[in-house]
């Protein structure tokens, strides 16, 4: 069942002329290819075979390799890796064909076999493309109803459409947006409330009353100041100290009470007025205090 390429390809040639392929969705990477109206090296190779009316099962490799090289040079495709790879493959097959065959050997591994297989496979793809193109053209000539513009405020309860590809593209965007390729390496500067608690407790153990500036060094960074503030508030909540401020905006005295009296289930009633305004409905992390 020798398939003659010319027979199969004739109809395709007619169609190709009838419907040129505008590179409407061709991204830059394949732009060169689209301009030349070849969708790849196999497409070009098939065109050459058709022009020469060559039996796909008996390709004169030397001649075709030469023409292939000539064509990619004139079409300026000789910078595209895929075309160069095919050119190299053809030259390799040509060299293999020149090797002397063993006299009288029954089986001969035709160096062209793999190429023939690929060409046949690709030819079938082209055939399916013809079917798809015919179908698409029929559909293009009918209009569905244009959807009305979406309501200004889309409800958040309606059906959602998102393809897996959309989700993965989002992951891809995130990965690119992040500084490093590894998402896990990005760790926000955490507050060190536990450390500040330990420092404050240690100081309160030695002195009955301390001041804010005893806990915060002058050049402290914001995260350190915040850590100390939260630690002090936590100590007050646990009943380990009392905060006093004699005048508005004045210095804050931290007066130590007996450490260890506070328990976790104490209510915030015991907290001094200084902190009540800062108290939040959620509880602070007490893991640090327990340490």
């Amino acid at each position: 069942m020798a398939t003659h390429l010319a027979d199969v390809a004739d109809s395709r040639d007619g169609r190709e002329r009838a419907s040129p392929r505008p590179p409407n969705d061709a991204p830059p990477a394949s732009f060169v290819v689209e301009l030349a109206h070849f969708s790849g090296p196999l497409d070009l190779l098939l065109t050459l075979l058709r022009e020469e009316q060559i039996d796909i099962y008996d390709i004169p490799i030397a001649r075709i390799a030469e023409q292939f090289l000539l064509r990619i040079r004139t079409l300026r495709l000789d910078e595209a890796a895929e075309y160069l790879e095919m050119a190299a493959r053809l030259l390799r097959i040509k060299a293999q064909m020149l090797l002397p065959r063993r006299e009288g050997a029954e089986a001969w591994d035709d160096p062209r076999a793999e190429l023939v297989r690929r060409l046949l496979e690709y030819q079938q793809v082209r055939e399916v493309v013809d079917v798809l193109e015919f179908r698409a053209e029929g559909r293009r000539n009918r209009f569905a109803r244009t959807p009305l513009p979406a309501p200004a405020r889309p409800s958040s309860s309606g059906p959602v459409s998102a393809a897996m590809a959309d989700l993965l593209a989002a992951v891809d965007r995130l990965l690119r947006a992040c500084r490093g390729p590894d998402v896990h390496s990005i760790v926000p500067r955490a507050l060190d409330v536990a450390g500040a608690l330990i420092a404050a407790r240690a100081l309160l153990a030695r002195r009955a009353q301390i001041r804010w500036r005893d806990l915060v060094r002058p050049s402290a960074e914001p995260w350190e100041i915040l850590s100390v503030l939260l630690a002090v508030l936590e100590l007050a909540r646990l009943g380990e100290c009392v905060l006093r401020q004699s005048i508005p905006f004045g210095a804050v005295d931290i007066v130590g009470l007996d450490a260890g009296l506070g328990t976790l289930d104490e209510t915030t009633d015991s907290v001094t007025p200084a902190m009540s305004s800062l108290d939040s409905p959620t509880r602070y992390d007490t893991a640090g205090a327990a340490a």
């Binding site: 060169v32 409800s155 998102a162 989700l167 926000p188 992390d285």
Partner: protein, 186 residues
């Protein structure tokens, strides 16, 4: 119906919005305003014969075909007209983060995405794609978010392990930026 009425039917159907007389006249070079108005009347009468679910309506200086009001409730109930709402890029990114790093706090999401995530999280919660799965041990015990069975169902996943690993994505989705590679002849 006359050929002009059929053409108007196809045109009014294809357009979602009302079409004015000028545009309708552009459909047929031989049409006159009188002919178009007559054809519109013919089409309207056809739909008003008590046997149709749609009707021709005059609106916004033009004509439009709309479903009859008595069918609105059924169509809405079947969620046919409410087209599936495409998740925004921001929502997808947030969802992707939650899927890959769950359980994750809102602060972590915002840290990575660099923008506030409140309204997006709310919307994802309402749609049932994510849920609160616990509280972090960190200060303030912030809520932790994770994906739901609805999320798996939506993306046709049997379990989270079916999500591609992050390092597989580079190959799978990113177009080869360097292709075609110019190869210099030796």
């Amino acid at each position: 119906m006359t050929p002009l009425a059929q053409l108007l039917e196809a045109a009014l159907f294809a357009s979602g919005m009302p079409i004015g007389l000028d545009a309708l006249l552009a459909l047929d070079l031989e049409a006159t305003p009188d002919l178009v108005l007559a054809a519109l009347a013919e089409l309207r009468a056809r739909y008003d014969d008590g046997e149709h679910g749609i009707e021709v309506v005059e609106a916004a200086g033009g004509w439009q075909i709309l479903t009859r009001p008595e069918y609105t409730a059924a169509i809405e109930r079947a969620q046919i007209a409410s087209r599936p709402h495409r998740l925004s890029a921001a929502a997808l990114e947030t969802l992707a983060l939650i899927a890959y790093r769950q359980p994750i706090t809102r602060a972590d999401i915002e840290e990575i995405r660099g923008v506030s995530a409140g309204s997006i999280l709310k919307s994802l919660l309402e749609r049932g794609l994510v849920d609160v799965v616990g509280k972090a041990e960190a200060l303030g015990r912030p809520l932790l978010y994770g994906t739901t069975p609805t999320f798996l169902e939506h993306f046709a996943l049997r379990h989270l392990g079916e999500l591609p690993r992050a390092d597989e994505l580079a190959v799978a989705l990113r177009p080869a930026t360097a292709a075609p590679v110019p190869v210099s002849a030796p």
